[in-house]
């Protein structure tokens, strides 16, 4: 088991399977809020469903309306269980807070692989990789 200490962005705890994107994500236009599927053309996660995952990506990008899209997903039940960023920016940070999605940044996301079982304790800023895939 690997434990990493990061920085709390949005409070809460979650446990789930990691879905890792090497590229930034735009939640406005890049993800369909009704289905939770990434639809940005050419994106490494294109066609994948982020719902219920521990979503791991470097940082956010795109329009500030993206914060409301996370809220939308949370409202209809398509949101990720938690977010881990290399470095959060305003859109993802505000989106995670208003949607109450646990969010941590400032951890080495290269340590996490898609399929790893992850535990996130955002209150303590701790990410645990419980089992490597």
């Amino acid at each position: 088991m690997l434990e990493m200490k990061g920085r709390k962005i949005a409070k809460g705890k979650a446990r789930g399977t990691a879905l890792v994107s090497p590229a930034p994500i735009s939640f406005y236009g890049g993800v369909d809020p009704e289905t939770g599927v990434v639809k940005e053309q050419g994106h490494p996660l294109e066609g994948q469903k982020i719902t219920g995952k521990i979503l791991v990506f470097p940082t956010g990008k795109g329009s500030t309306v993206g914060s409301y899209m996370l809220y939308w997903m949370s409202d209809v039940g398509t949101a990720p269980a938690a977010i881990i960023n290399q470095e959060s920016e305003t859109i993802v940070a505000v989106g995670a807070i208003i949607s109450e999605i646990p969010c941590i940044d400032s951890v080495d996301i290269a340590q996490i692989k898609t399929g790893d079982l992850i535990e996130v304790d955002a209150d303590q800023g701790i990410v645990k990789i419980l089992s490597d895939k």
Partner: protein
């Protein structure tokens, strides 16, 4: 945590002032941590973006309603333009469905104590900070105007972070709030003559292209009206994403900082090139609009003079703030404009109104309006000086 909170701020974060205030303080402390703020600053004025139902949608409205259950703003707070004239939406051809939802958005803001006049020029209608004051404004053109022309201090807020500042009366101390982030990084030596709002808009776009995100110190601009600075602020913010600029002898902080070493020269040719870039070939102009950012009283007076006893041959919108429209009513300008067949609309503009698909070719004097008409609505555009825009409308 490097961010230190006062007792009151900590109490807000702990939920002692209710859920909306707590959520707001969570947003602000997270942003403060991300951007390395050491403390919160009291703000005296807020401008909120994300007002058009077309941008917010049902989820955004739901979020606003959740905050409105127990949230109240602590400082003077105004709104960005909405998707329609809040009173006379029918004359703009807005659907009843959209109107109903737009009014639900306004009601949520009103419940929180926001002044629901919807304008991108809060500084023309009484939400006007003074030099050095810390504020939290969204609306990129107003941010650039406040930082540069007034010398107040604000970051480029988004809708939720501006609302959070309103509900707490605070903003984290980072970015443009601090001296070191307001310093010019490149000198723009302009050689040429600017005659109107269109020219200033084109120069803003030209500067955005060469400055690449750096803060500019502009030399060679002899004078500028408030309307020209309003248009310039909108253009440089839209095309460059920068929230502050300095103009020698014109903006108040021009002497405050040491000048950078790098100089880029721009000439009349660059301005002309960008005017050309904003001039598509249009077979059939079917939409003429002025008021991006919202028209000032002086602009409406000039438009009324030009439209006196004339008839427009195309759909023409003059967009402005409600208070300015009311003075225009009182002065008889509105009547002249409406007699000519043009529409004067308050609370909204051609950028945020749901007009995609309604028009094909748009003529305006605003560089910002050109950007959004192309990007959001797929219109062809032509930028012209105000007088020529009116000539196009009555042709």
């Amino acid at each position: 945590m490097t961010l230190e909170l006062t007792k009151e701020e900590q109490a807000m974060l702990d939920g002692e002032y209710g859920r909306a205030t707590q959520k707001a303080m969570e947003i602000l402390t997270a942003l403060g941590e991300i951007y390395g703020a050491k403390k919160m600053l009291p703000v005296t004025s807020v401008q909120i973006s994300g007002v058009s139902y077309a941008n917010l949608g049902e989820p955004g409205l739901k979020f606003l309603n959740s905050l409105a259950t127990d949230g109240k703003v602590r400082v003077l707070t105004t709104l960005n333009p909405a998707g329609m004239d809040l009173e006379e939406w029918e004359k703009l051809g807005i659907s009843e469905d959209f109107a109903k939802n737009q009014l639900r958005v306004i009601a949520a803001f009103q419940k929180m104590g926001v002044v629901t006049t919807a304008t991108c020029t809060p500084y023309l209608v009484g939400n006007i900070p003074h030099y050095g004051e810390h504020i939290a404004w969204a609306e990129s053109s107003a941010v650039a105007f406040a930082n540069s022309v007034i010398g107040a201090r604000t970051n480029r807020e988004g809708g939720p972070s501006a609302l959070a500042a309103a509900l707490t009366g605070r903003t984290p101390a980072y970015g443009y709030h601090l001296d070191q982030n307001r310093k010019p990084q490149v000198i723009i030596q302009f050689e040429g003559k600017l005659e109107n709002v269109r020219d200033f808009g084109a120069l803003g776009k030209a500067i955005a292209e060469v400055a690449k995100g750096k803060i500019v110190y502009i030399k060679g601009v002899q004078n500028a009206t408030i309307e020209e600075l309003k248009g310039f602020s909108a253009s440089i913010a839209t095309y460059g994403g920068v929230g502050i600029y300095h103009i020698e002898r014109i903006t108040p902080e021009w002497k405050e900082y040491a000048l950078p070493d790098e100089t880029i020269t721009l000439t009349q040719k660059d301005v002309s090139r960008h005017i050309n870039e904003m001039s598509d070939e249009i077979d059939d102009v079917d939409f003429v609009t002025i008021g991006c950012p919202h028209a000032s009283l002086r602009e409406i007076e000039i438009i009324a003079e030009l439209l006196k006893e004339k008839k427009v041959t195309k759909e023409m919108w003059i967009t402005t703030s409600r208070p300015v429209k009311e003075i225009a009513d009182q002065m008889g300008y509105t009547k002249i404009i409406e007699n000519a067949g043009a529409k004067i609309a308050a609370d909204t503009c051609a950028v945020v109104a749901p007009i995609k698909g309604r028009f094909k070719g748009m003529v305006t004097n605003s560089a910002k309006a050109c950007y959004y008409a192309r990007g959001r609505n797929n219109f062809k555009v032509q930028i012209k000086p105000l007088k020529e825009v009116i000539r196009e409308a009555i042709q």
